[in-house]
């Protein structure tokens, strides 16, 4: 069957058997091997990708079902070649990985969480990554990495100190009511 997929902003067409999972299609047909093959039945979370921004298991979807979605893999997160996204960088800084097998799934899941919640509590983070299994870190540093990324994103999005006050002064003097 022919299917058109939108992967990391690019339209691609591929001929697949209906039984081929989105995960295998990403890895074998598009050579996007950052989505990892773990349990292949939806338990481990290593194959997590974003579908329209929401974390989903690419092993629990056939490629033929995936047309019309914006699919984001770990390869699509970095702002430019050789750079890291804020979350990826936070995982490095806080040692949020050891063997790295679960990392793409963890990073994408964290991205999705921080996209709609910039002040997640520890519980929110634990709940969000509860479907991603890590056998190395004990999760402590992963949770810290997500907290760290959230902090950086908040600071990056906040107006620089002084800008707010200046804006207020301007309005009060400018007489705009």
């Amino acid at each position: 069957m022919k299917v058109k997929l939108n992967v990391n902003g690019q339209q691609r067409e591929v001929e697949v058997e209906p039984r081929k999972t989105l995960l295998d299609t990403l890895r074998e047909d598009f050579l996007l091997v950052g989505s990892h093959v773990g349990c292949e039945h939806g338990v481990c979370g290593a194959c997590t990708v974003l579908l329209d921004g929401e974390p989903s298991r690419s092993c629990l979807m056939f490629a033929v079902q995936a047309d019309g979605y914006e699919i984001t893999t770990i390869e699509g997160l970095a702002p430019a070649p050789g750079e890291l996204s804020v979350v990826q960088d936070a995982f490095c800084e806080m040692h949020g990985l050891q063997c790295g097998y679960c990392t793409p799934g963890m990073v994408l899941t964290a991205h999705a969480l921080l996209n709609h919640n910039d002040t997640p509590s520890r519980e929110d983070i634990v709940e969000a990554i509860s479907g991603n299994i890590c056998r190395c870190t004990g999760y402590g540093q992963i949770v810290e990495a997500v907290e760290f990324a959230a902090d950086r994103l908040r600071k990056a999005n906040a107006p620089k100190q002084g800008v707010l006050e200046a804006a207020e002064t301007n309005t009060s003097h400018g007489g705009r009511k």
Binding site: M1, E17, P18, R19, T21, C39, E40, H41, G42, G45, T48, L51, E54, P55, S56, R57, C59, L60, M61, F62, V64, Q65, T109, E127, A128, S130, G131
Partner: protein
């Protein structure tokens, strides 16, 4: 861990889907695929055809009716979690949903899929049985509604016949002013299959007397079941009354044994969690000052 070959079809209407299902009894419906695809991967299921209904508009969405909320079969679980209306009118379903899989599987998994799959430990079927929901089924000759209690027959076994497709689930909404809910579950890991799950919903009048009470148990036997707690109705209920009623109601309950838990364990936990769920529900109802919905 690769599925056996199958044919994939995406019909344009429910009628067309039912036609395909009626013509081939080995065809299976797929929606979110969060339980079916693992079964295909492990080759526990080997359908000839997968009939994808996920994009059928007529099966989408949450509709509010008088005395009920109707979920189109392909409504994703995450959409239910995000619905303000469901939070307000069906809080028991919201409490149960956080136990359904993980956030990523709830992003894809559907209400109708969980119902049609009929896992004895699944939470959405448990709430359906507890509240007496109705399952709407479409087939080539029309639509019928089946009470949850008759729909679920056994593990992964429902009253769905070849040519049938679950098209909506009707959850009744209690109109009383003070409604409280409680949900308790135990499993090996967060969001794994429940060994025992208990769901309770109660309503109180303005004097704190119980007007209506429902308790359901999942994971214990081969399907979710209701426990008779009608003895609580008309009374000002206290801890002792709840414990007595639940003990009596769960004494001879059918329970299954497996690697994870024995029947005796399940029965004992069922009594404890049934009590806790009801206590939570009464506390929840008491905390509501009689606001009209």
């Amino acid at each position: 861990m690769k599925p056996a070959p199958f044919e994939y079809v995406r019909p344009d209407s429910l009628a067309e889907a039912c036609g395909i299902l009626a013509a081939d009894e080995d065809a299976r419906v797929i929606a979110g695929g969060q339980t079916l695809i693992p079964m295909l991967a492990m080759r526990l299921a080997r359908p000839t055809k997968l009939v994808d209904i996920l994009r059928l508009k007529e099966l989408k969405g949450i509709r509010s009716e008088d005395g009920a909320i109707v979920f189109g079969a392909v409504t994703r679980q995450v959409e239910v979690e995000r619905s303000e209306e469901v939070h307000r009118r069906l809080p028991l379903l919201i409490k149960a949903l956080r136990w359904v899989g993980h956030p990523p599987t709830r992003n894809r998994g559907t209400v109708g899929g969980s119902i049609a799959h009929a896992d004895p430990s699944a939470e959405i079927p448990l709430v359906a049985v507890t509240l007496g929901a109705e399952i709407e089924i479409a087939n080539p000759s029309g639509r019928t509604k089946v009470p949850a209690d008759e729909f679920f027959i056994g593990p992964m076994l429902t009253s769905v016949m070849p040519g049938d497709c679950v098209c909506a689930v009707h959850f009744p909404v209690w109109s009383h002013a003070r409604v409280g809910t409680g949900f308790h579950e135990v499993s090996a890991r967060q969001s794994d299959f429940a060994f025992v799950a208990a769901a309770a919903q109660v309503a109180l009048d303005e004097n704190g007397r119980c007007i209506e009470a429902a308790l359901g148990l999942g994971g214990v036997g081969d399907r979710a079941s209701r426990v008779d707690v009608s003895a609580l109705v008309g009374k000002e209920v206290d801890h002792v009354a709840i414990a007595d009623v639940v003990r009596a109601g769960t004494q001879d309950i059918e329970a299954s044994s497996d690697l994870h838990a024995t029947a005796a364990y399940r029965r004992r936990v069922a009594a404890v969690f049934g009590t806790r769920a009801l206590e939570d529900a009464f506390a929840d109802a008491r905390s509501q000052g009689g606001m009209v919905q």
